[in-house]
Symmetry: C2
Subunit: 137 residues, 2 copies
């Protein structure tokens, strides 16, 4: 590979590492308003799902399903939002977000809505631990 | 299957049929501001990607990749947005949207932004024909 993988600065700033899955770094967005996972495939210079080769794409899709199942079970959410947008941060990353009908963005999308709210650190660490335990075993 | 597949009324109202892919109906959102495909798996009572069985999921992921490649090639877009949200219309559907840095929602998401603009019918029909030709062959 020509370039080394490095997580985009904005993703680093807005999320915390949970686990390394086979292809992707799994991260928790630190906005406490929405239980929100982010998958970042460790492939440099890739912006679109279709830029991945077929083998990597299959792994990413599997990781999306695993992250979705885990987040739904742990959060008890009403709906999942799964999205690869990348308008702001071009590095390929996939959002898996737990939505509730009483969350502050419902029924709209979460991006760009209001101000992020910090987690209470013990709540955040417990959530990270539960997801890690569920996904890395 | 217990229930018969039927496209949600709001999807019917806001998009037009392009083609039947192996799993999904491929539709064009009729908002001319954004070249915007929608995949609707023909499975009744399914709301989440993780509600599909593994075989259907694999077909859906393949159809997302095919729709993405086709839309990017035909639109010449700067970025793709791929998303399964379903907060408004619960029936599982996947958005594949061509984004441009000068489009009216950039760099935010497109959902809920401003008012839809109708296509000039010949432009719309030509776009549908090009996508159909590219994907169904």
């Amino acid at each position: 590979m020509e370039k080394e993988f490095k997580t985009a600065a904005r993703l680093e700033a807005e999320s915390m590492a949970i686990a390394k899955l086979p292809l992707s770094d799994l991260r928790l967005n630190t906005d406490a308003r929405f239980p929100w996972l982010i998958l970042v495939p460790r492939r440099p210079a890739v912006e679109e799902i279709i830029d991945l080769n077929a083998a990597d794409r299959a792994v990413l899709f599997d990781e999306i399903v695993r992250a979705s199942n885990s987040l739904k079970a742990i959060s008890g959410c009403e709906k999942l939002n799964v999205a690869a947008l990348g308008n702001m941060v071009r590095q390929l990353h996939v959002h898996v977000i737990a939505r509730f009908t009483d969350d502050p963005a419902w029924p709209g999308p979460v991006w760009g809505v209001g101000e992020a709210v910090a987690y209470d650190p013990p709540v955040r660490d417990k959530l990270i631990a539960r997801i890690r335990e569920d996904l890395v075993s």
